[in-house]
Symmetry: none
Subunit: 138 residues, 4 copies
């Protein structure tokens, strides 16, 4: 069984920061396990405080529903997603910038990014996953 | 680095009250720092008790998202705003009447007003910021 | 019927700040009505952020139980106080530094102070009440 | 004015991990700013998921009260600490293992550790702070 160890998580951060250096904004990057609990996190200097929470919420939403967090909000939230988010105390954020992480066809966690445009956030998440040799879908 | 000291905050209140004297309603005015924590607050005699909380919620929302709190609700709440508001225990209110405060191109806090129409609330916030020699955008 | 208008509340703040100038610490001062809702508030430059919340909580506790908030914690919290504090969403803090405000034998609100030692906090609350020509008991 | 940038925070993690390698348990280490918002975080492989939250809660408590989180629980919780913790939505944990971080006599944040005995947790926090050239008191 594959799982996300700290080593993989730190590789994802490394790749994310490399990408973020090409951009003007400063970012928060959260890596979580399949349960949505944090494995590692960084806030780049100058990233807004709200991004601490938003990046974690996107990562948690991607992990819970095993899909990009941006997909969850398309066409309005569905009631099951909304229900689960309420049940779990509002820890998930269904906006673009979170991606699930797959290795050997198994989900091993998710990445959530916040600080730039939703599109930039997702690009950074993708760059991190790619840098670590993982995928964002089966 | 600029920041909102009590002196600036009290100038904002002064300008807000001057404007409020031209109107019929009575208002609550909250001034918060960039993290959303209160710096100063007044409730004019006769302002409804709910405005105590609404003015603070608008100020906190403006500070967190660095924009007018009225913008946040336009076209329905976006899921990221909704998510962050849930995560932070319902301390933010995304309705017109809150404005961020900028000085030397840096956000130094926000003002939230409640008690009149949303339009009046925002006018009072604006008058206060203007009176203190600050701006509401970069 | 006596009640705390903004004018009295600002007099209390004035007296509190005069006293606070004699001390080394920086303080937050909250003035609330008998229901515990804020009338006015100031955070002196340099006062810690936690004092924003603690001063309000002490004021709310004094108003609710019509006694010094420091009395409430003596000998451990009684279960009624604890129950009410829970019911109302944790907005009260039963520690020294809050005093009820009486005028013409009626409670018109309360003051809560935080930022120094509990003893200093209470002295500042008392100085404010006194300066405004009010009392802290019937 | 001193503040904790990502570079200092990562030095603290480095020192904490060096110390943790001498111990049998696996740890979570949270670094927060003075307001209690996360700057960086790691969960070592094998650390229990509850330690993710406990380490953050200890760090937040140390930051809010500018003292070791273990001190807060000595002799039972005082009602002011309890009150503030309730007000802020249960984000603080007053148990040993969190230490404030000072630089040039100013608080710049706090470290919270969980995963071993409370004593070990605090030793790791201390080792991290020391490694980064910071102090845990004025």
């Amino acid at each position: 069984m594959s799982y996300m160890d700290l080593n993989i998580a730190q590789k994802i951060i490394e790749g994310a920061q490399k990408k973020s250096n090409e951009m003007e904004s400063n970012f928060c990057v959260s890596i979580v396990d399949p349960r949505g609990d944090l494995i590692t996190f960084i806030r780049e200097d100058g990233a807004p405080w709200r991004s601490v929470y938003i990046s974690q919420g996107k990562a948690a939403a991607s992990a819970a529903f095993m899909q990009p967090s941006g997909k969850l909000a398309e066409g309005g939230l569905n009631p099951i997603h909304q229900g689960l988010m309420g049940m779990l105390g509002g820890r998930m954020i269904p906006g673009q910038g979170g991606l699930p992480v797959y290795k050997e066809n198994e989900i091993i966690g998710a990445v959530g990014v916040s600080g730039g445009t939703p599109q930039e956030d997702e690009e950074i998440a993708y760059a991190g996953i790619n840098h670590a040799g993982c995928k964002t879908s089966k």
